[in-house]
Assembly symmetry: C2
Homo-oligomer: 296 residues x 2
Amino acid sequence: MFDYKLLAALAAVVEQGGFERAAQVLGLSQSAVSQRIKLLEARVGQPVLVRIAPPGPTEVGRQLLNHVQQVRLLERDLQRQVPALEDGGMPERLRIALNADSLATWWAGAVGQFCAEHKVLTDLVVEDQEVGLKRMRAGDVAACLCGSERPVAGARSLALGAMRYRALASPAFMKQHFAQGFDACRLARTPAIVYGPDDFLQHRYLASLGMQDGFLHHLCPSSEGFLRMTEAGLGWGLVPELQAREQLASGQLVEICSDTPIDVPLYWHHWRNGGQLLAQLTDHLRHSAHHWLVPL
Amino acid sequence: MFDYKLLAALAAVVEQGGFERAAQVLGLSQSAVSQRIKLLEARVGQPVLVRIAPPGPTEVGRQLLNHVQQVRLLERDLQRQVPALEDGGMPERLRIALNADSLATWWAGAVGQFCAEHKVLTDLVVEDQEVGLKRMRAGDVAACLCGSERPVAGARSLALGAMRYRALASPAFMKQHFAQGFDACRLARTPAIVYGPDDFLQHRYLASLGMQDGFLHHLCPSSEGFLRMTEAGLGWGLVPELQAREQLASGQLVEICSDTPIDVPLYWHHWRNGGQLLAQLTDHLRHSAHHWLVPL
């Protein structure tokens, strides 16, 4: 068997983002943690950590972390069957990659009670879909919520529903640019707000109106910042309906062209042998996601 | 003089996050953009782009971008003096690094009208302070809003005020853990929410209550997700007062220990010779930040 004290040290350094906090969590001195990492590297014959701030796993380090995470989930199942094994009731951690807009809107409401009841702590990683699935493949996360359907090897994907986006702007923005009524050509010449280089929602929306060319835009890599910039009249942008309900009801934001939503499907990727906790969370999402997402 | 057609191609590829969109914005074919980048690399004698998705500048590429950005700001000043030079009124882009909580709260309100009046588009980059200042030093951004006071070479820093954070939790969370009243020892054993490995606010808060050890926590690298998780009762966390006003007023969130705020100072770093637009934005922030920030 592996020496799990060494693997636990590696997991703690990566999860806590440093040796000092890893030592705190493990109840060890910092030099003891360093010692364990060095011993692990001697056994493996190569570095397991990239010594930057915060430290990140090397390729082989990632494979070890993947293994630790799987073992932990299996241990958890065993503990339920053999309660005497219970190690003081430390909550389990689940590392999950998800898209920024889900995290900014429905995610916490969907998993809150589940996490409290099952004593789960979550390490959330905000990634667009390609990177999220790459992390999944590398074993860096146990699950990934993203817009891509195709599962990675060893995992399953479950369609949860779609987030509905609407193209919104402030009344002042509408008055400034569309006092004579909405006009797609004019829209393409007003500033948009774009989340980042991988966000093509605004492009898709313009394309759906027959506008294929480039357009002016702010870049704002924050869901809430995106909404604030829209409210402040800096530009128009596709905002999750879930996030703008109050603003739409109060008239603080308006749809720039009535009832032209874009639905973005969301898939839950999870390991096939991820243990009972992950299977339960998957079931929970399967049954509750429809409260927030529209059917595919 | 340099060949600015080539430099503009480099800037467009980096700003647009790819050759295809750069070509759109420049009104060129994609192969023409590639050709210009190759020509630039031949002149410089080394690669200017790292060919990943999205493409990033090499070290020398960053120096060239730095120069392009400075020249653009100076051109803008010249155009104001010699209006005939106006090149069709394309808005100027300002690339700014800032902390996630500012972007999620007061930033858009503070700059909205300024950007509309001055026809400025913003490329925002969310970074914690060290990385933000590193980008500033590399010339990758024109300004940086962060918690670190010391300016990088060639730049000035201006104290804008402080964001006030309060330790908040949901009433259900309080009832579950503090039915017998608040207790710092108990707090250290309930789950917190932490933004990321560089977020020590929760540590500082616990330390201010005399608790020095590690604690359980969720990791949630999203300002709005952080708030949603707090509302959903997943844990307690330090939330900007600006962001939780409604929740505090409605009782959806409560301060876990009455009136124990933590103030985090914010500094605006800007190039000393960044042109008139940047100077105007700096003045604007100097005079308006007090609407959202508390005095230092």
